[in-house]
């Protein structure tokens, strides 16, 4: 083996790439981790929340070193219409006992830290390097090309994100389709930590994760809010296919949401400091490409389109880390380069990533039910308005009043049809 040949080259220092490189470096492998951003995280945007179990799988206790934001103790669901908002708040301190279930994260910090952990284990980090292509010899991927240079390795791990140019260059899969992705846009809003804790009724190291519907002009999609240390992440994920038909610009719809009185009250006095956008895989198991490896190459993380979105639970970074671990274990166990790919798929099963994806495989159909994003949240708020209004007049009988609210928004047939579709998707 030539001196300049690596055991593995990992392209992309996000959660998937760094998890893979970390495990390999820790096992003594000669790993090169390549990142196109000037520093890891510089090109990345997420909601975002990280489910801690994934870091625990990489190395127990590792999360305690990570620059995580707030541990999530409140899970909230918000239903909005033009005027009002109904919020369900689930407070459960058990979620933050022991190893907290999840944390809000800021990618610039998280990804930079994770890559530094790879370096601490002896891996080589090359930031500010854009990989232009793959080197292929005798039908095998043997390295990468970047800025006129060639770098060689036994295995190339493509952790190059949702747009995975490398996966397509290797001929493993075709480009994403509009219906299979969501486009997420987000503002980071700076606010004093003490204000955040007071407004959301949490301790200083605890936080809130909120999902919201009814704020997308009827477009399939939903909003999110995460409390960080000294900032709030506020954004919306849209179906771009539906947004295209609807005709209003998505950045403008985010502004409406931000200025909704129920949201404004939470962020008032803050300052927007950054605006980001990113694609997310949106159809779960059915969106995962058939081929995730070929000789000398495996694909992990967003590049492999691993994602779970139930409407309440939105996962990507944890699956990315688990897939990075699966790839690393495959590389460590394989007795030949040809064996790496098949073992990688076995490991995805063994680590339960594919099983979890399959369990939710029909969930994305919920997002195709037409009334979920406008009529249902409007109906909920009008029902609340009816139930809570006192004006000194004789009220409509309760059942009649609620029926009137329902009929104003949807026909009985629509409610039954939507309910049936939802049931079939679960």
């Amino acid at each position: 083996m030539a001196d300049d040949k690596f055991d593995a080259i990992v392209v992309g220092a996000g959660p998937a790439g760094s998890a893979c490189a970390y495990v390999l470096a820790k096992a003594g492998k000669n790993v090169l981790l390549v990142e196109r951003g000037d520093s890891p995280g510089g090109k990345n945007v997420s909601g975002g929340r990280l489910y801690t179990y994934a870091l625990e799988m990489i190395e127990p206790g590792m999360y305690q070193r990570a620059p995580l934001q707030r541990k999530i103790v409140r899970e909230q669901i918000m239903l909005l219409d033009k005027h009002a908002a109904t919020t369900i708040d689930y407070f459960d301190p058990r979620f933050v006992e022991g190893v907290p279930q999840s944390y809000s994260v800021v990618r610039a910090k998280l990804d930079e830290w994770f890559a530094s952990e790879v370096e601490a284990k002896g891996g080589t980090l090359a930031s500010g390097v854009l990989v232009d292509g793959l080197i292929e010899e005798n039908d095998r991927i043997v390295g990468i090309r970047a800025g006129g240079e060639e770098m060689r390795s036994d295995v190339v791990v493509a952790a190059d994100g949702i747009n995975s140019l490398l996966g397509r260059k290797a001929g493993l899969f075709s480009d994403l389709e509009g219906h299979a992705v969501g486009v997420g846009i987000k503002e980071t809003i700076e606010l004093p930590d003490s204000v955040i804790s007071a407004r959301f009724a949490v301790k200083d190291d605890e936080g809130v994760a909120r999902v919201a519907i009814g704020c997308t002009d009827g477009i399939s999609g939903g909003a999110f809010l995460y409390t960080n240390k000294g900032s709030i992440s506020l954004g919306i994920v849209f179906s771009p296919a539906q947004a295209a038909k609807q005709g209003r610009h998505i950045q403008e719809i985010l502004q409406d949401f931000k200025m909704h009185p129920a949201i404004l009250a939470l962020i008032e006095g803050g300052t927007t400091i950054e605006y980001g956008a990113h694609l997310v895989p949106e159809v779960g198991y059915r969106g995962i490409p058939q081929r995730l490896h070929r000789e000398g190459m495996v694909v992990i993380g967003d590049a492999a389109r691993f994602g779970i979105n139930t409407g309440l639970i939105i996962r990507g970074m944890d699956l990315a880390m688990v897939s990075g671990l699966a790839a690393a274990q495959a590389i460590l166990q394989a007795k030949s380069i040809e064996a790496v790919g098949p073992i990688y798929i076995d490991k995805l099963e063994e680590l339960m990533l594919l099983g979890e994806e399959r369990a939710y495989q029909n969930f994305h159909q919920i997002f195709e039910i037409p009334h979920v994003f406008r009529e249902v949240p409007k109906l909920a708020n009008e029902a609340m308005q009816f139930l809570f209004t006192v004006d000194g007049r004789v009220p409509t009988p309760m059942v009649q009043g609620l029926m009137n609210v329902a009929k104003r928004n949807m026909s009985l047939g629509q409610i039954l049809a939507d309910g049936w579709k939802a049931y079939r998707s679960l």
């Binding site: 610039a108 747009n163 994403l176 486009v183 771009p240 803050g270 694609l279």
Partner: protein, 96 residues
């Protein structure tokens, strides 16, 4: 400062960009776009870099957030080439 509605330009002004002058990483062929009726790019580009001028699609690559939505949603192939900016160019997120 306080919270206010931001135009796309004001949103982008918050971000850190290094523009690779004269070297667009995305190439748009307006002749193809002229025949497109979908024109999804006009509403789905988060940075609103696709605009209609005299009924023609115009595209500005500076300010690109590198998300890929335009490429994925382009129905007629007017986005003829989509790449990431060269190393050290493009957007750098600090808090996202």
């Amino acid at each position: 400062m306080s919270i206010k509605r931001l135009s796309p330009e004001e949103s982008l002004a918050l971000d850190k960009f290094a523009v690779d002058e004269g070297k667009p990483h995305i190439i748009v062929d307006k002749a193809i776009c002229a025949h497109c009726s979908d024109r999804a790019c006009l509403v789905v580009c988060p940075a609103r870099l696709y605009r209609l001028k005299d009924n023609q699609i115009s595209f500005e690559f500076a300010g690109c957030l590198e998300c890929g939505t335009c490429r994925v949603m382009c129905s007629e192939g007017g986005v003829t080439s989509w790449n990431y900016p060269r190393a050290s160019f493009g957007v750098t997120y600090r808090t996202s």
